[in-house]
Symmetry: C2
Subunit: 434 residues, 2 copies
């Protein structure tokens, strides 16, 4: 490279080449709305949230009718039962979305929070405050609840939202965004603060990923494949969420009851989510004591055990683990199980295969606890509890944007503060630099 | 897209296809060293910093000899005087780099700082603590001082560093990294904690940008073009630094002396840096009072004034501003000047052309001050002082990685805390999720 300092024009003011002008117009409206939202008071934003909750309830039959169109198309095109279930909105689900929106209205507004402040030796007064990002983009799939969740979280944190919800939920999302926009308008807020770009199809998602200067941050939610595509292709900064190859390590001194209950909870309570257990590691000195009862309990719950040789010697009702199993996020009633010689081997295995989401050690040994908590490089590290607790609701955030598995900006469950940036305010009285 | 939730293998454990195996080996060594550094105490890291400072002093003739090779090549290949100056290391510059390294040793270690903590209703103890990123990558040009700066900041914050310093400084950087590695080793730290990949040439930089899973964050430092290339092409999360189309707005009530002194300082004191002034906006009601003396002072200092028509009517010794001027970061003794009708027009101009680095208002009006500070969307917003103060050293950070102009993770001057991520530690006693 022989690129040196020369006068340059600011890249962010360049036009968006090759974009659909109708999409650029939407992005410009979102950006303009974001300037209004950035300085909106919490009272105004909360009124918008309350209006959205009210509208979701009063317009429920209109939303459900649109949802039935998507479900019928999904049924015709062979969408699995699991995905149809995720796509479905009924009165009860809409009520819980309305309640979540009302809950977000009760949370503390993150905008304006002073993060630090001081007076410099020359008298300059320095304050770092939280500010909204501006425009938040989201790319997700067949989960119309995300439309309301992200719109509500973005509004509360002073951000405009541009949503790409995927073709399977297109009718539902269109009506949901209409309902949200009507509610925003009724509360005196700009309707363009929440927009869908579903009508631009696949190219809309591609354009959203390269709309630098229009979109400040992009949050993908959905399968590991979707997230990986967005992470690889986006020119807009991304917060990577989700994929979890989660480990529990039963140390030599693990309590038998805790081991059984925590492993059962971690694997069985809700196997399809990112904080569910995928790989169980067991210290060789505890394997004979713990594995037969822990695994029998899982088998009784319908779990298929993918076991290494030492595990199979202790528990025959299993299938041999393959090399791929250790790196697999099953999201189903399957579990990889491996006996390790030491906590070091357990942590080496985790370093190699973990997606750095959540790992838990079950132990009564203080030194091993502190080593595990310090040395395991994951968003959440635990001792003697279930990885299923890695969740914005459980952590007391009230609402959750997703769970970040990257290290930049946000790590672990993301609440409202993670939808903000900061800025420095400097108040002077004529100071110049010497 | 029809990508739904299915079992997937973790993308981060995939091999790095098409990479030079020697480069992958270096990245693996850096990752391994980062695991050691992550739990190194501040005492140990500070001993490493002190050893680096000592080695920079004791090996100065070896470093300067290598630097002379680069300078001779640069002179042969027509490198400008300015760039040759930036490339040059002499005894005085090495001494100041050694002192900066010793200063970093005196700063508080950011690693381990508890950011928040609480006990959940179910008894789980939650603590969020600062942790190192892991491996920090840097891509920069012809500035060998950055090699020592980034290595020292990375070490203090517990990160390994992989450096790509550009061909113009290749000999200097190779010797600097050798000196640093010898110092690390003498202090009992892994020598692989700081590495250069300059020997892989252009493809090394390309590979560094796609080394997800090996490099946790990438910091480009240099020209706007270099930064833009890295931002556009990197698959690794990037912290965008630098480009500054910085504005000062002289409001109707601006004090004449402050206006002249601050504008002079902002433009003239060091025009080649990102926090120097590029565009001066003046309220029409103050133009006649302020512009003649402010601009005459700048002309006397050799500044070329690129003026709009209203400015030219008040100050003839100027050239007509072109449309491009408003978006140009001159980095030279050139200044764009425009008369605006109101603070709203000033803020609209800033919203359109600013790179969101630093903007300052000079005023005695409280309402306009609060509007400007709240509504201008830049990393640093100021009242009645010079934008040249946007600087890690001036802000009291002791050292600076660069100035972030993005909103994700870090905004404004970046010190040691900005080179860290966080993790959640959860301590339980058998809790499972209901």
């Amino acid at each position: 490279m022989s690129i040196f300092e020369v006068a340059t024009t600011a890249p962010e003011t360049l036009p968006l080449d090759g974009f659909d002008p109708a999409l650029v117009a939407k992005l410009e409206l979102a950006r303009s709305a974001s300037r209004t939202l950035a300085t909106a008071t919490a009272d105004v934003k909360n009124a918008g949230l309350t209006a959205i909750a009210r509208a979701v309830r009063s317009q429920s039959s209109r939303i459900i009718a649109a949802n039935e169109l998507d479900l019928a198309r999904g049924s015709d095109s062979g969408l699995t039962q699991g995905l149809q279930d995720r796509l479905r909105l009924d009165e009860a689900r809409l009520e819980s979305l309305a309640e979540a929106t009302e809950l977000i209205a009760t949370l503390v507004d993150p905008v304006g929070e002073a993060l630090c402040g001081k007076i410099l030796p020359n008298g300059l007064q320095l304050t770092q405050v939280r500010v909204p990002f501006g425009v938040v983009g989201a790319i997700y799939e067949a989960r119309p609840n995300v439309t309301i969740d992200i719109a509500a979280l973005a509004l509360k944190s002073g951000n405009a939202a541009v949503l790409r919800g995927g073709s399977a939920a297109e009718s539902t999302n269109r009506v949901l965004v209409e309902v949200i926009q009507e509610a925003l308008e009724s509360a005196g807020l700009p309707r363009d603060a929440v927009q869908t770009i579903d009508e631009f199809g696949r190219s809309g998602a591609t354009d959203l990923m390269r709309a630098r200067g229009y979109v400040d941050v992009l949050v993908p939610r959905g399968s590991a494949q979707l997230i990986d595509t967005v992470v690889q292709e986006s020119k807009v900064p991304v917060i990577e969420t989700g994929a979890g190859v989660v480990h529990v390590f039963l140390d030599e001194s693990a309590d038998g009851d805790w081991a059984r209950d925590i492993v059962h909870n971690a694997k069985v309570q809700r196997p399809s989510v990112c904080n569910a257990l995928e790989t169980l590691l067991v210290h060789e000195a505890a394997a004979e004591r713990l594995l037969p009862s822990v695994l029998a309990d899982l088998r009784a719950a319908g779990v298929t055990i993918h076991a290494d040789e030492r595990t199979r010697a202790l528990f025959a009702d299993s299938v041999p683990a393959t090399a791929d199993d250790w790196a697999t996020e099953y999201m189903s009633l399957d579990l990889s199980v491996k006996v390790v010689d030491s906590i070091d081997e357990a942590m080496d295995h985790i370093a190699r295969y973990s997606t750095h989401h959540t790992e838990s050690i079950i132990t009564n040994d203080l030194r091993n606890t502190e080593r595990f908590l310090a040395e395991v490089d994951s968003a959440v590290v635990m001792v003697n509890t279930s990885p299923r607790f890695t969740d914005g609701g459980e952590f007391g955030f009230g609402a959750e944007v997703g769970i970040s598995t990257q290290k930049l900006h946000a790590r672990g469950p993301m609440g409202l503060p993670e939808l903000t940036s900061s800025k420095w305010i400097v108040r002077g009285s004529g100071q110049v630099r010497g």
